[in-house]
Amino acid sequence: MTPLLELKNLSVAFDTERGAIVPVRDVSLSIFPGQTVALVGESGCGKSVTALSILRLIPQPPGRIAGGEVLLEGRDLLTRSEREMRSVRGKDIAMIFQEPMTSLNPVYTIGDQIVEAVMLHQRVGSREAYKIAEQSLNDVGIADPHRRIHEYPHQMSGGMRQRVMIAMALSCQPKLLIADEPTTALDVTIQAQILELLRKLQRERGMSILLITHDLGVVAENADVVGIMYASRIVEFAKVEDLFDRPQHPYTEGLFRSVPRLGAYAQRLVTIPGMVPAPTRFPSGCKFHPRCPRTRKAAEALAADSAQAGAATVAVTDSSGETFRVLQKCATVEPDLREVQKHHWGACHLIEGFDKATATTPRLEHRREVVAATVQGDSLPETAIPAKAESEVGR
């Protein structure tokens, strides 16, 4: 089965007066038809930039795609002309945004806005387009679409507007829907309704979804495959069950630990120490090492073990002013994303059982593997990370 969308080593750079910053580096993932892939990470980790650069919507300049490929059904989107891209946007790949309150133009009725999208991509007259718009409003569960189609955005609640956004995005039957934090601005009951709606529409149409979120609950409920992003890179990529059962990367572990559990007794919620580094000041080596408990523990163990620990570890001061030692390797060499278990990729030097392997072969070629995801009985969607190619972005 060929993937619908493949990102291969996608890197995005923004040229600023103080040099280029790289909010997305070497991001690779595949989305198969009918599959939901989630990208999870904190604010500023590059997940939204990744989504925008799939549609080539990052502001250029200062932004630019510094390397890699974005393959839609095998054809690279990055080499297409702007005119060709315009026919991809909305038609093959549609996008919905975080903030439904401002995503609709306040001076037009919602009907006008959906009709505009429909008429842009389909050869229909305006009467036919209104019918399609009404039908798509009906599909997203808006009652009395015949009347509501003539209403203005300000007459609708946030949940309704997000439904309208979904109706507009789906009115042209896209193959992929990019949902950039579609529920973040909504309250919890509406969140559940919107996600349920997306699942239903996905089932009906066999559409793929790239779900951008920072909500692990949303991921667990909706995603088939998850990529965890931290400071511009995917640090872990796996099927949702594998990721939740056996997180491999210390950052993923930290994320799970910081989610409050119903019924569990805890005095304080566990947090990940330190802050997400700004793209202008990414640390050297593994970008997580100043906050990583794993490398700290390893360094402590090493110091207790041997006398030459000083050479193999370095001192790091975190944002709270605390100084501790980490492994020198973590502070200098950026770990590659490699398959640490079957169908489970992680980017960490200290994943158990891989210490020796990385010591001898620091840059493993990523095998192209296909994993059966578990959503739908026998017609299984799949998961893969594309083969790794050299990136143009220097390290």
Partner: protein, 336 residues
């Protein structure tokens, strides 16, 4: 049997209508309602409409005759009069068409004031169209595309706005004057004569404020999510700019128009006073200019008539402009 069956569908429809929310009102119809419901702004609107009607009526040939028709044929200079001195020494009003008196060539002030509204409105409308057009297009392009285009346009309007506006208009009028009236210019430049001088010198200089306003507004709107959403739907830049961003700025254009119109009427007077612009037709500025020497001799009616005409129009436009701004810009109402 069928006659006995209750008409349920009708009842349902009725209930549904009773529960339905109030029908949607567009911004334009909302603004219209607000203006209609305020007596003062309605009065001002009526005044402005009357001025426009008078301006239109002055296109009739009878106006052209009346403004140049002296009360008593003969001498090139006649004593301006407000009353008629009969042989028996009694004072009487002049004929109804001359109730506002006559000027130094014996022509009716009344007709000339009416005719002045045509020129004032012609200048206002044409100069506004020109300056709003230039200001809007340059402003939205500058704000939306940024980069060197923005630099160029910003540089252009900064340069223009660094010269005091009135001086710039006067300088411009001096530069154009010769080409529109003296007969050395292109035929179609001479067609409109002095009126064209005023229109050009206003239209080419007054786009700066709107341009700056539009640039700022578009800079703000361009990062709104609905613009990203439109981009993600596959719309092109120009379509987004003119179909999605521009309609969100119409209130700025209308407000700038209604407030700018006042200054155009006034600047025309200033230009005429300096002997620039209209020389062959009775504009209000020309009338005040003509009457300034007579004023010292106690001939007050021509200045007064023209001034009152200007005053009433400017006051009405000002109040209407304020009302329009309140009605069209929801941000000023504290509701976004």
């Amino acid at each position: 049997m069928t006659a006995m069956a209750p008409d349920l569908s009708g009842a349902n429809a009725y209930e549904r209508d009773a529960l339905a929310p109030e029908a949607a009102r567009s911004l334009a119809s909302d603004a219209w309602q607000r203006i209609v419901h305020s007596k003062l702004s309605m009065l001002c609107l009526i005044i402005v409409v009357i001025y426009f009607l008078v301006g239109l009526a002055s296109l009739l040939p009878v106006f052209g005759r009346k403004i140049n028709e002296p009360l008593n044929d003969g001498a090139p200079y006649q004593e301006p009069r407000l009353f008629e001195q009969r042989a028996d020494g009694s004072k009487h009003l002049l004929s109804p068409a001359h109730w506002l008196g006559t000027e130094f060539q014996g022509r009716s002030v009344f007709w000339r004031v009416l005719y002045g509204s045509r020129i004032a409105l012609l200048i206002t409308v044409c100069a506004s169209a020109m300056s709003l057009g230039i200001g809007t297009v340059l402003g939205v392009i500058s704000g939306y595309f940024g980069g060197w285009v923005d630099d160029l346009i910003t540089w252009l309007y900064s340069t223009i706005s660094s010269v005091p506006w009135l001086l710039l208009v006067i300088a411009m009028a001096y530069a154009i004057q010769g080409r529109t009236t003296a007969g050395e210019g292109h035929p179609w430049l001479r067609l409109l004569g002095g009126t064209f001088t005023v229109i050009l010198s206003l239209g080419l200089t007054d786009w700066v404020s709107l341009c700056r306003l539009m640039r700022g507004e578009v800079l703000k709107l361009r990062d709104r999510d609905f613009v990203s959403a439109a981009r993600a739907m596959g719309l092109g830049h120009w379509r987004i700019l003119f179909r999605h961003i521009l309609p969100n700025t119409t209130h700025l254009i209308i407000i700038t128009f209604s407030l700018g119109a006042v200054s155009y009427v006034q600047v025309e007077v200033v230009l005429a006073f300096l002997g620039l612009g209209i020389t062959d037709k009775p504009s209000w500025g020309k009338m005040i200019d003509d009457a300034k020497l007579e004023l010292l001799r106690g001939v007050w009616w021509q200045v007064t008539a023209a001034t009152v005409a200007i005053f009433v129009l400017c006051l009405a436009l000002n109040i209407l402009g304020d009302a329009l701004r309140d009605a069209l810009d929801p941000k000023l109402r504290g509701v976004d």
